[in-house]
């Protein structure tokens, strides 16, 4: 690890100012600290959000579940509010990393990092979530912009994520065997705006699968999901899965999500 200065922000404004001046934002640190230890990241200034208690917590506001940016994965997984309103989201959070990662990692950190194999982005995209920042609100569709990039401006910090409660949802994660990130994760939701199918792990960033959505909109059945041919063209091809295998997993995981939702 290279030397760095740790700034522990006590107000959101202070954190934003430090970030605007180029400090790297430290949320749960589950990606950043490992990169720094390996000398792959070399920030001179860190701004730690850990003391900003107002950024943590889960609130049910009408038909919206608002989760503070610094809320830890384990707290989302264990929250009765999440478990009763969007059980698929609690289940998703409970499958991230291992117990140690879930005890430290945060939803805001995960969303801001936009790792192409992270779980949360698929939930945001499928559920039509809104990302709140210190400056504005951004829809999930606008927020995620491919491989580790987002709509956040320099110095802009996520404060919370709001999820409209869907009629039904399921997340099916197929784990990369070594890292246990999503090799392919499929989040299927029946929302007021229609059926949404968001896929993570399979390509350079999270994406909605419109053919699957259309088929399931017409007939929300396993058979309808199975009838869609998944085009492997833009899918990742690496050590752990060929593009063809990822295409197969998108199909199978979608079918299984639908099956789970029909049984619930």
């Amino acid at each position: 690890m290279y030397p760095f200065t740790l700034n522990q922000a006590t107000t959101l404004d202070q954190a934003c100012q430090l970030a605007a001046r180029g400090a790297t934002v430290l949320a749960g640190g589950q990606t950043l600290l490992a990169s720094m230890k390996l000398r792959m990241a070399n920030p001179e200034q860190l701004v730690d959000l850990g003391r900003l208690k107002e950024l943590s917590g889960i609130k049910l506001e009408g038909n919206n579940l608002r989760i503070g940016a610094m809320t830890k994965h384990q707290d989302v997984a264990n929250s009765p509010d999440v478990q009763t309103t969007i059980p698929a989201l609690a289940q998703l959070a409970g499958q991230i990393g291992d117990k140690q990662v879930r005890a430290m990692g945060t939803i805001g950190g995960s969303v801001a990092n936009n790792d192409p194999a992270a779980c949360y982005p698929s939930a945001l995209l499928a559920l039509g979530a809104v990302v709140h920042t210190n400056a504005r609100t951004i829809t999930a569709a606008d927020f995620f912009q491919g491989l580790f990039s987002t709509a956040l401006n320099p110095g802009e910090l996520i404060t919370a994520v709001s999820f409209p409660v869907p009629q039904n949802a399921a997340y099916m994660k197929f784990k990369q065997p070594a890292s246990r990130f999503a090799l392919v994760g499929v989040f299927v939701a029946q929302t007021h705006a229609g059926v949404r199918v968001a896929v993570t792990g399979a390509a350079s960033g999270v994406f909605r699968h419109l053919d699957l959505e259309q088929a399931l909109e017409q007939s929300f059945t396993v058979k309808a999901a199975a009838s869609v041919t998944i085009d492997p063209t833009d899918l990742n091809n690496d050590l752990h899965a060929s593009a063809a295998y990822r295409a197969n997993l998108i199909s199978v995981q979608t079918q299984r999500a639908v099956s789970l939702m029909l049984a619930s």
Partner: protein
């Protein structure tokens, strides 16, 4: 004392809790990195980022000027001041020429031959300063084409001048003409091509070294995470540094796992020992995990073709095998004997195959050196044979158990056609017990239940044999070993009756401190807690060959037994004197000396005290003291064997393969601590099933870069990947050592991979898959199913 009397002693067969666990579980273990010496500084190695490159120049100007830098050494600084790293086993090619033995410089000279090859040693006041300076070392590389796959080696750019076609040796065992003739007339021949996937050892504790030098007495002390400190010292002093052995002390303190990867003399060990004198400071180097992936000797990496000739009833007549073995970029310490001596001699397995011919070509590639890894040659042999045997059965329409039973050896001793003579065994007994424990009878019902859920279920067998405790030394020497294979033990009885045992075996997770204490406590009739075991220090232990090849109890334990015999003989003389009887009339049972035909008795403690306070003592005939040392050189290998049965369930939609049941019945001979044995079996099974299902070290075929260089890509097995294991044992005691033990450390890793893959193939046969290589990852299984559909 004979093995059958030994097995009946108290404490033998008792699940005594491990004496070492308190310190390990409470963080009180003392591993090399936990030790810090006065005036210690830190080392970092600059490593080649290229798989194959000419080192055109190294510019140290900037790096040497950086804060805290004490010294930087490159290969040129070491040239002429030390030898290269030696190989401990000479293999002679079929044409009578010795293997190609290229130089293995401690720091690269002129060329780097694999990613991670050490190019410079940077020493600084702090670790961070050493890392910073290492980044500032400017190496001018000219890249060369790299080869990583053993099948590409012959046509690739040469790594070493002495081996222009990258060929190290061609070695063979058996009568080719006779075997070929049998094949020509056989009723049926089964053939199989297979790959034994390369593995990264990944001991929990990475390697670590502290080199230090004392100017006052000109003595070196090397702390190193190592499995055999005396061997380390011998190789380093005699072959590399030319130092007097009595001036070098090697300490391998608590060591967190080795699995073979810490047997070897590594460049870092030598470099720090030498450099400590140059800078007159103690120097610490602790390997990081990503560095371990690149530099710890890897395991396996064989490509083989195997054939079995049979009569019409499936009786084996002859076997023919060709193997290409990947040795990596340099010859690691025992790399050359793994795909030859330790491999070919196991190919008879548990079967009466009268003729075997095996040929091995060994190659250099631009990869990390390959050497012995848990099982060392024996897993490769077992995987090949047990896969072949199951296929023989399938081709002849025989069940996997039936083809094995038709060919099992059923009388002992049995002389195999590949040099080994098995002393005892009961292969059918193991098979029968395993089948009952695995509920093979209920398999059909379980298969049909899986089928109703759209899942494929398969059953796989493996009846393995292994050879532990390479021996005897003179035969090993004739076969090319450049070391002895005995063990040493010293028993020091203290005046108050407690005992310190000094053993040349080294425990790095095996629980010797408990098992060996049980042996001594049982023999002397004292409490297990009254016995402490010291190991891993050339300054305290008289000599030792270390721990590998499941040899510790059968060779190291036997040396302790011999020393105990001497203790008992002397103690009886002291007791005879005290009780005014003749030596021949003294019995020693349960810690008490008695005189035959009388009620006279005296305790072991009284005899011990008398030995050191010799007031009433036959000083004219007997030396005071009660301290004995013995060396033991075994007369034969020991032969643990067993049958493993694996049941898998495959989801054809995703290829996901789950081990649902795993049954292991082993014959380890006498068992001293069944809990420790069970732990060893669990660990071995996890490593073997890990190889079969997930572990796979992959290099990029073009660039030679290690693609699975961290736990993000190299799939380490985890607890939730496994079911509860069904484990049991049978016992046919080893006939030629005083304990009757055979060794249990590697069995699980040797026997399990073919059981898993046979089960996978059994499951996939119904969807048309005929062949499959490890690992059975979801992706690979799914691809095999798709290929069979096409």
């Amino acid at each position: 004392m004979g093995a059958s009397d030994f097995a009946k002693l108290p404490h033998i067969g008792e699940a005594v809790r491990r004496k070492e666990d308190y310190r390990f579980l409470t963080g009180a273990g003392q591993y090399t990195d936990d030790i810090s010496l006065a005036n210690q500084c830190y080392a970092v190695f600059v490593r080649s980022p290229h798989a194959h490159a000419i080192i055109k120049g190294i510019d140290l100007t900037h790096a040497k000027s950086m804060p805290g830098v004490i010294e930087i050494f490159t290969g040129k600084d070491l040239e002429g001041k030390m030898g290269g790293l030696p190989c401990g086993w000479l293999i002679t090619s079929t044409d009578g020429t010795p293997m190609k033995e290229p130089p293995h410089p401690v720091l690269a000279l002129g060329k780097a031959r694999h990613v991670g090859d050490q190019v410079a040693l940077v020493i600084a006041q702090t670790l961070e300063q050493a890392k910073n300076a290492a980044e500032a070392v400017a190496v001018d590389y000219e890249q060369l084409p790299a080869v990583v796959d053993v099948r590409d080696a012959a046509k690739a750019t040469a790594l070493h001048d002495v081996a222009p076609d990258n060929h190290c040796y061609k070695w063979a065992l058996g009568d080719k003409a006779q075997v070929d003739a049998t094949f020509a007339t056989a009723a049926h021949v089964t053939q199989l091509d297979l790959v034994n996937n390369r593995l990264v050892p990944n001991a929990m504790e990475p390697r670590a070294v502290i080199g230090s030098y004392n100017r006052a007495n000109e003595e070196y002390t090397l702390y190193v995470s190592n499995q055999n400190p005396h061997v380390e010292r011998l190789l380093m002093t005699a072959f590399v540094l030319g130092l007097p052995e009595h001036k070098v002390r090697v300490i391998a303190p608590d060591v967190g796992g080795g699995f073979g990867s810490k047997i070897y003399l590594y460049a870092e060990d030598v470099a720090l020992t030498w450099a400590a004198k140059q800078i007159n400071r103690s120097i610490k180097w602790t390997c990081e995990r990503s560095e371990s992936f690149l530099t710890d000797a890897h395991g396996r990496d064989h490509v083989s073709h195997a054939e079995m000739a049979m009569d019409k009833d499936g009786k084996f007549l002859a076997m023919r095998v060709h193997t290409d073995a990947n040795l990596g970029a340099y010859l690691s310490t025992f790399s050359t004997c793994v795909p030859t001596i330790l491999y070919a001699t196991l190919l008879a397995g548990q079967y009466t195959c009268p003729q075997i011919y095996v040929e091995v070509d060994a190659w250099f590639t631009n990869t990390t050196p390959v050497d012995a890894y848990r099982g060392a040659g024996r897993p490769e042999a077992t995987y090949l044979l047990e896969r072949l045997v199951s296929r023989c059965g399938w081709e002849l329409g025989l069940e996997q158990d039936e083809i094995r039973k038709r060919n099992f050896i059923n009388s002992w001793p049995y002389q195999t056609p590949v040099a080994l003579q098995y002393d005892v065994g009961d292969y059918l007994g193991c098979m029968n017990k395993a089948q009952a424990l695995a509920d093979v009878a209920g398999f059909a019902a379980r298969k049909s239940s899986s089928s109703s859920k759209g899942l494929l279920r398969g059953l796989g067998y493996s009846s393995y044999i292994e050879a532990c405790g390479i021996a005897p030394s003179n035969i090993a020497g004739a076969l090319g070993a450049r070391a002895g294979l005995f063990e040493c033990g010293e028993i020091r009885v203290h005046p108050t009756g407690s005992v310190t045992v000094f053993t040349g075996s080294h425990s790095h997770g095996q629980g010797h401190e408990t098992t060996f204490a049980q042996v001594v406590a049982a023999r002397l009739g004292i409490a297990v807690d009254a016995v402490d075991v010291v190991h891993g220090d050339t300054g305290r232990v008289p000599f030792g060959m270390g721990t590998y090849g499941s040899r510790s109890i059968s060779v190291g334990g036997a040396a302790i037994m011999k020393a105990l015999d001497k203790i008992e003989t002397k103690a009886k003389k002291i007791a005879a004197h005290l009780m005014e009887a003749s030596d021949a009339d003294i019995d020693f049972v349960n810690g008490e000396f008695t005189v035959k035909g009388t009620d006279k008795k005296i305790s072991f403690g009284q005899v011990a005290l008398t030995a050191y306070v010799p007031h009433n003592y036959p000083l004219d005939k007997l030396e005071p003291g009660l301290n004995e040392t013995a060396f033991y050189d075994p007369t034969n290998f020991t032969f643990p064997a067993g049958t493993y049965i694996c049941e898998v369930e495959v989801d054809p939609a995703t290829g996901t393969t789950r081990v649902d049941k795993f049954t292991a019945v082993d014959d380890f001979g006498t068992i001293i601590n069944p809990m420790i044995v069970e732990g060893q079996v669990h660990g071995g099974l996890v490593q073997g099933i890990g190889q079969a299902l997930m572990e796979h070290c992959i290099y990029d075929r073009d660039s030679g870069q290690l693609l699975t260089g961290s736990f993000m890509d190299y799939v380490m097995p985890r607890a939730d990947d496994f079911p509860d294991f069904n484990i049991d044992t049978i016992c046919t005691p080893c006939s030629h050592n005083p304990l009757g033990t055979k060794g249990c450390g590697e069995a699980g890793a040797i026997g399990s991979p073919p059981a898993v893959i046979n089960a996978v193939l059994d499951a996939l046969r119904s969807v048309g898959v005929k062949d499959f290589d490890m690992p059975a990852s979801s992706h690979r299984v799914w691809q095999a199913i798709q290929a069979a559909k096409a």
